[in-house]
């Protein structure tokens, strides 16, 4: 006991306060460490981020699609009017057809090409690491930049492709890569495939490396050929990876914008207009925010269906 009663009292109070504080802190820690609380704490920042940068524009887009709304103008409610206008718009239907063709062809090429790339990359060869890193380049270079380079590659006279064709004597003059509607579609599919291939390749390679060697060994002992091992061991083990990567790729390809915007602007004569470029041209070019949002929103059902499929698949696992 302290000689000075005042000092003694205050020290006791301080000790008491500290005890309370430590009890409080440990309770707080206990609360935070509860799994249900901790997981929400971790989830909150990304959720807020998603709400602000994805949720808000999305719901604003949904809202806009029901209005006739011009740039800097006030909105007037038109219900499903914008969708009715689109249903009677031949360019809209052309862009839907183009988007489906583009997505289907590019995804198929990326999936098969990516599988091939992964199988090759899984072999042992010299400078494997650097080759793998270099293969990622198309994915790393900003799309606009690489697309400008492709513009040069497709150039009718100076471009790499036509120079190769002419110099090698295979053709007198090369094709018009971006001037002919069919070739223009092929060209944009080609560039999208080139850019998306590494995503498939690297993801499938990661999947390949998780397949236990024992499975291959026992299949070999059982007399399986190389094709048999690929068909009955490698492919089934890879299917989950291929499924998820393909779904993601379909979504990304479906919404592709930059590539077409830079390479063809949707031309010639709308033959490469995708839904994303058409939505942009209506909103920003024409200034019809409502109509443009309606085009963008028309893409959502496809995305929704894919998300449902993906969710079911993941849950089944």
């Amino acid at each position: 006991m302290s000689a000075n009663p005042v000092v003694g009292t205050s020290r006791a109070a301080a000790l008491e306060a500290r005890a309370y504080r430590s009890v409080g802190l440990s309770r707080l820690r206990e609360f935070i460490e509860r799994e249900s609380v901790f997981s929400w704490l971790i989830l909150t920042p990304p959720l807020l981020f998603l709400l602000a940068f994805l949720g808000y524009p999305f719901f604003y887009g949904v809202y806009l699609s029901f209005f006739h709304r011009e740039v800097a103008g006030s909105p007037s409610f038109v219900g499903l009017g914008n969708f009715v206008t689109l249903a009677n718009d031949p360019i809209f239907w052309q862009s839907v057809g183009n988007t489906i063709k583009f997505t289907a062809a590019a995804t198929l090429l990326k999936a098969t090409g990516g599988l091939g790339m992964a199988l090759v990359m899984n072999q042992n060869f010299r400078m494997k690491a650097i080759t793998r890193a270099l293969l990622l380049l198309p994915f790393i270079v900003p799309t606009v930049l690489s697309t400008v380079a492709w513009q040069w590659i497709f150039d009718p006279g100076m471009g790499l492709f036509n120079r190769l064709l002419v110099e090698s004597g295979l053709a007198k003059t090369g094709p018009s890569w971006l001037g002919n509607p069919t070739m223009a579609m092929i060209s944009i599919i080609m560039v999208n495939t080139w850019r998306g291939l590494p995503f498939f390749g690297i993801s499938i390679l990661a999947g390949l490396q998780t397949i236990p060697v024992e499975l291959h060994e026992s299949a070999t002992i059982d007399g399986a050929s190389t094709w048999g091992r690929f068909r009955y061991v490698t492919l089934p083990s890879l299917l989950p990876v291929i499924f998820i990567v393909t779904t993601f790729s379909i979504i990304l390809t479906f919404f592709d914008f930059q590539l077409v915007y830079v390479l063809t602007g949707g031309g010639p004569a709308n033959s490469t207009h995708l839904m994303a470029t058409y939505a942009y041209s209506l909103s920003v070019g024409v200034g019809q925010m409502g109509l443009g949002s309606a085009v963008a929103l028309s893409m959502v059902p496809v995305l929704g269906l894919l998300l449902v499929l993906l969710t079911f698949y993941v849950r089944k696992d």
Partner: protein
């Protein structure tokens, strides 16, 4: 309880002190903001192909304005090639960004611009009067919503050496002669490259004048009735199909605005329609080619007339800015002949003012090969002509209705079908 805190400042004392301190610190800020003059004005413009033009503005005009008024001009240069309009639309939508700008496609957001009639009318009076056609763009409901700065001329750019080689001594006077010459040049491996893709200048600048010279306009004067559905349109479409097949490089049907510059500078084409930026680039980087480039006017059509398409540069002040009057004062200052004349001169007439005072200035004589661009103002029309330049017209432009009518025909669609499709779209747009 002992009042040991008596000597300490009370809560009220603290508040008094804090208020005093805030007052002392904040007074200059309040005083500064109470003044009408802002310290900075943001001016957004697409970058110029003629570098000297932007440099003159930055190195001479900005310091001069700051010296005279104390106001700093923040010059935001937007990348050329179609990205300025999205930026402007986004600025208007968010009510932020620049105080004044080169208001491209101003029909999209005229409501967001302040009335600048006082400036435009005074400038017109002082500098010889405005060319009439530009009023269809800048004047809306009797009020000037922008002050026209200049026109970027679009003409035929051609390789004089190759034309000479093919025995074509002067640039063709009519579209038929133009086709004839093109056939000869293509046979010699020098096709034309006439842009027909989803660009915003080099496609419109020859296809619209061609249509007009066949006596056709897209809409009537009031902008109410579709005027495209005529037999003359069919003749124009048939002509373009022939020109494309017999005289042009195949690729040009999909070209955006930079593509013809690139093809010309790499000697792939003998003629295209463009601003004189191709010659500027060639003189700088390819001096040999720079010597053999020349310019010609758009040929005359069956109606005996020739036309050109205007590419206007107009400046507008945004109504939502913190101080539109300050931005207007600056705009007025730029149009004062003391500033305006040297500014225009610095661009070697690449930007040609819509003012008659500039009709005979000696700057037109510096480069004789630029002279055809002088004539563009006399025969130049807006793409909306003769209808008003409004949102509906903007929709036609941004959906490439007329351009695609021609390009589809070139790709093999029947003339009747492409015209019917274009007319249907026009009726839907103009409702």
């Amino acid at each position: 309880m002992a009042k040991s805190t008596k000597s300490k400042p009370s809560r009220r004392d603290f508040l008094k002190l804090a208020a005093g301190a805030a007052g002392t610190v904040g007074a200059p800020w309040i005083a500064r903001n109470a003044q009408a003059k802002p310290t900075t004005i943001v001016f957004a413009r697409e970058s110029s192909y003629v570098k000297n033009f932007d440099e003159h503005f930055q190195k001479v005009m900005i310091p001069a304005y700051q010296k005279a008024t104390g106001i700093k001009i923040d010059y935001q240069i937007q990348a050329a090639g179609g990205s300025a309009v999205p930026q402007l639309v986004s600025m208007v939508e968010n009510k932020s960004g620049a105080d004044l700008a080169w208001v491209q496609q101003e029909w999209l957001y005229r409501d967001a611009l302040v009335d600048v009639s006082d400036i435009a009318e005074a400038v017109g009076k002082e500098q010889g009067g405005w060319y009439d056609e530009i009023k269809s763009l800048s004047v809306d409901n009797g009020k000037w919503k922008s002050v026209p700065q200049a026109n970027i001329g679009q003409c035929m750019v051609y390789r004089k050496d190759w034309f000479d080689e093919a025995g074509i001594k002067s640039f063709p006077e009519t579209w038929d002669e133009f086709l004839e010459a093109g056939i000869k040049l293509k046979a010699k491996g020098h096709p034309y490259g006439m842009s027909m893709g989803h660009g915003f200048a080099d496609n419109y600048s020859w296809l619209y004048p061609l249509l007009w010279s066949y006596g056709v306009t897209v809409m009537d004067k009031a902008g109410k009735k579709v005027a495209l559905d005529t037999s003359e349109t069919a003749k124009a479409v048939d002509y373009v199909r022939r020109l494309y097949k017999e005289a042009c490089i195949e690729d040009c049907i999909g070209w955006l605005d930079p593509h013809n510059n690139k093809a010309f500078l790499t000697s792939q084409i003998s003629c295209t329609n463009n601003a004189y930026s191709i010659m500027v680039s060639a003189k700088r980087d390819l001096p040999e080619m720079g010597k053999v480039i020349d310019h010609g006017l758009n040929p005359k059509g069956p109606n005996g007339q020739r036309y050109h398409s205007l590419v206007p540069v107009t400046h507008g002040v945004f109504a939502y800015g913190p101080d539109p009057q300050a931005a207007k004062d600056f705009l007025k200052w730029t149009m004062d002949p003391k500033q305006f004349r040297p500014w225009i001169a610095s661009g070697d007439m690449y930007f040609a003012p819509y003012l008659h005072a500039f009709d005979k200035v000696p700057e037109w004589d510096i480069e004789p090969r630029v002279k055809p661009y002088h004539k563009v103002l006399e025969t130049g029309k807006l793409t909306s002509w003769p209808a008003p330049a409004n949102r509906a017209h903007g929709t036609v432009i941004n959906r490439w209705v007329v351009i695609d009518m021609f390009s589809k025909a070139c790709l093999g669609a029947p003339t009747k079908t492409v015209i019917a499709e274009a007319v249907a779209q026009l009726k839907q747009i103009y409702g």
